[in-house]
């Protein structure tokens, strides 16, 4: 072969690592934005903001490693409790996903795949929420760490994108029943929404058979409201960890305060990264919206955040904070200490609320089951997540493990597929994509689903 593609890619990756995300990520996204006809001045400013956001993210991660990790390690030593990593939360997962080469490639690839599926009439969802492409970027980026196979990783990420778009199509009815104002929108967000739908599909028919008393989410909301504040969650958890670690009074106060700071500042820093990214994503989606506007009936794909304000979701999210901590301590084999994602618990039930028509008790039960599943999945995948972060230089080896909870269901699927012989592993993912794309053409299945779920 005259041109060795593997070593060329290897050299390219080394170049990226030398530059660091704060340099190559802005350059890369600037080029993408200009290709998609963004104004050069606007794209330049946005690209710089992305670099600044990445640096801010690293600064706060430093605080996390200096304060939270030693405290958590001391707690583990003192109590013999089974945690190996502290959960860094979805914003960090997103930042690391976009810090990988596969991840950032998923922005243009994701748009192209979506457009092809719309053109072939295989989905109605036009996903303008480019920020949340991070979910399939995360699948691709961490599967790359697991497999070291670029084509397979991209295929896995595309498979998850296809699944997200189809689930968005299939779940518009429960969404519109609860939020009539959102007709015309769908939610292809691969996190809170799509990643819990496979579990809800099993849980819902069972829970619907059991009669539950009615309960009012508003009272829960007003009683537990203060628990939902990130700084309060951070302060309390930091203090509890430091107490269990047998720190002295000053140590406890310092850890609690640092923890409150991490909880507030980490999402803010990712918010800066986000500001730059959305400015670029905006010009891309404006470009396509102009091309597609009025062409045919399409759903506009949005972030699950548009459905977070339901009283049941907010109240169930609050209840899930202590529930999650209890599950993590009580369930054997959970190795991740829930931390940063405790500020995002409403997202774990954002799909459950519409699935149960706003029923509070069923939503809490479903949320508890889903959280337990996520805790196990996160425990299993955290070492790979850590390696991915190490590989891109977001953390250093001596800082120890970082943990995640939220895991896209296609990560275990892709890992399972990859364990098959070479060639067969690709085939499994391709068959899966085809099945997901065409399964709703089977009339008998459609009728069965509508009887089962009654949307």
């Amino acid at each position: 072969m005259p041109f060795d593609i593997i070593s060329a890619l290897e050299a390219f990756r080394n170049l990226l690592n030398t530059l660091g995300q704060s340099i190559w990520l802005p350059i890369f996204l600037f080029v993408i934005a200009v290709i998609f006809r963004a104004k050069v001045g606007r794209a330049f400013r946005a690209a710089i903001i992305i670099g600044v956001g990445w640096i801010g993210f690293n600064l706060v991660m430093g605080l996390f490693f200096d304060s939270m990790v030693p405290a958590a390690q001391a707690m583990v030593e003192q109590t013999g409790i089974h945690f190996e990593a502290v959960d860094v939360g979805w914003p960090v997962m997103a930042a690391i996903a976009y810090g990988t080469l596969v991840g950032v490639l998923m922005i243009p690839i994701g748009i192209i795949v979506n457009l092809i599926l719309i053109a072939l009439n295989l989905t109605k969802t036009f996903d303008i929420d480019i920020w949340n492409f991070w979910h399939w970027a995360f699948v691709g980026g961490t599967i790359m760490t697991w497999t070291n196979d670029l084509a397979f990783s991209i295929l896995a990420a595309v498979a998850y994108e296809v699944f997200c778009l189809k689930v968005a199509d299939w779940t518009v009815k429960p969404l519109w029943n609860v939020f009539p104002g959102y007709k015309g929108y769908s939610i292809p967000q691969g996190g809170g929404w799509v990643s819990s739908v496979p579990y809800l599909a099993v849980i819902k028919p069972i829970l619907d058979k059991i009669p539950f008393p009615k309960s009012d989410p508003e009272t829960v909301k007003s009683k537990l409201g203060v628990l939902g504040e990130p700084i309060i969650i951070g302060l309390v958890i930091g203090a509890v960890i430091a107490i269990l670690a047998r720190f002295d009074a000053i140590g406890i106060a310092k850890t609690a305060m640092a923890s409150a700071a991490v909880m507030l500042l980490l999402p803010r820093m990712i918010g800066i990264l986000m500001e730059g990214l959305t400015a670029i994503a905006d010009s891309i989606s404006e470009y396509f919206t102009a091309k597609f506007a009025g062409r045919r009936e399409l759903y506009i794909g949005m972030d699950a955040a548009i459905a977070i304000g339901h009283p049941t979701t907010v109240a169930a999210g609050l209840v899930l904070i202590p529930v999650t901590l209890a599950l993590a301590v009580l369930l054997p084999g959970v190795k991740v200490l829930p931390y940063a994602d405790l500020a995002a618990t409403p997202f774990f039930v954002v799909a459950a609320t519409p699935f149960f028509g706003g029923d509070f008790i069923k939503t809490v039960i479903a949320g508890t089951i889903i959280m337990a599943i996520f805790l196990y999945l996160g425990s299993w995948w955290s070492p790979i997540f850590t390696q991915t972060a190490l590989k891109i230089g977001a953390i250093t080896a001596e800082q120890g493990q970082i943990g995640c909870i939220w895991l896209q269901p296609y990560i275990p699927v892709a890992v399972g597929a990859f364990s098959m012989p070479p060639g067969v592993n690709y085939l499994i993912l391709i068959i899966l994509i085809i099945v997901v794309l065409f399964i709703d053409r089977v009339k008998a299945l459609r009728e069965f689903a509508s009887r089962l779920y009654k949307f």
């Binding site: 939020f179 104002g181 015309g184 929108y185 986000m274 905006d282 955040a305 977070i308 304000g309 997202f347």
Partner: protein, 99 residues
């Protein structure tokens, strides 16, 4: 000289959708020459900000359920999706220029 208006933009996390909506809102205000503080917050922090700011003139939420009696509250999703954006922008300007 009129008082500077306070506008809350609330979403699930104050990271994702509110960032976009607040950006679009600032562009709109600039276009109409309206002086206002645009504050991004989490959906659950609305009451807290209403108390600490004293007077909030408008709440724009991208998290669903725009219902409130004391302060005008609008569904901000059109700012992000572009669908129904003109109508929403007209309402925003109307509310802000009402006193």
């Amino acid at each position: 000289m009129t008082r500077k208006k306070n506008i809350l933009v609330a979403c699930g996390t104050a990271i994702a959708t509110a960032t976009i909506a607040a950006g679009k809102l600032k562009e709109l205000l600039q276009k109409h020459n309206i002086q206002a503080n645009v504050i991004q917050c989490r959906f659950t922090e609305i009451d807290y900000y209403v108390k600490t700011l004293g007077k909030v003139d408008l709440i724009i939420t991208t998290a669903g359920f725009p219902e409130r009696k004391d302060i005008p509250i609008l569904n901000g999703v059109p700012l992000i999706s572009g669908v129904g954006k003109e109508e929403l922008e007209r309402k925003i300007i109307e509310i802000l220029q009402s006193d």
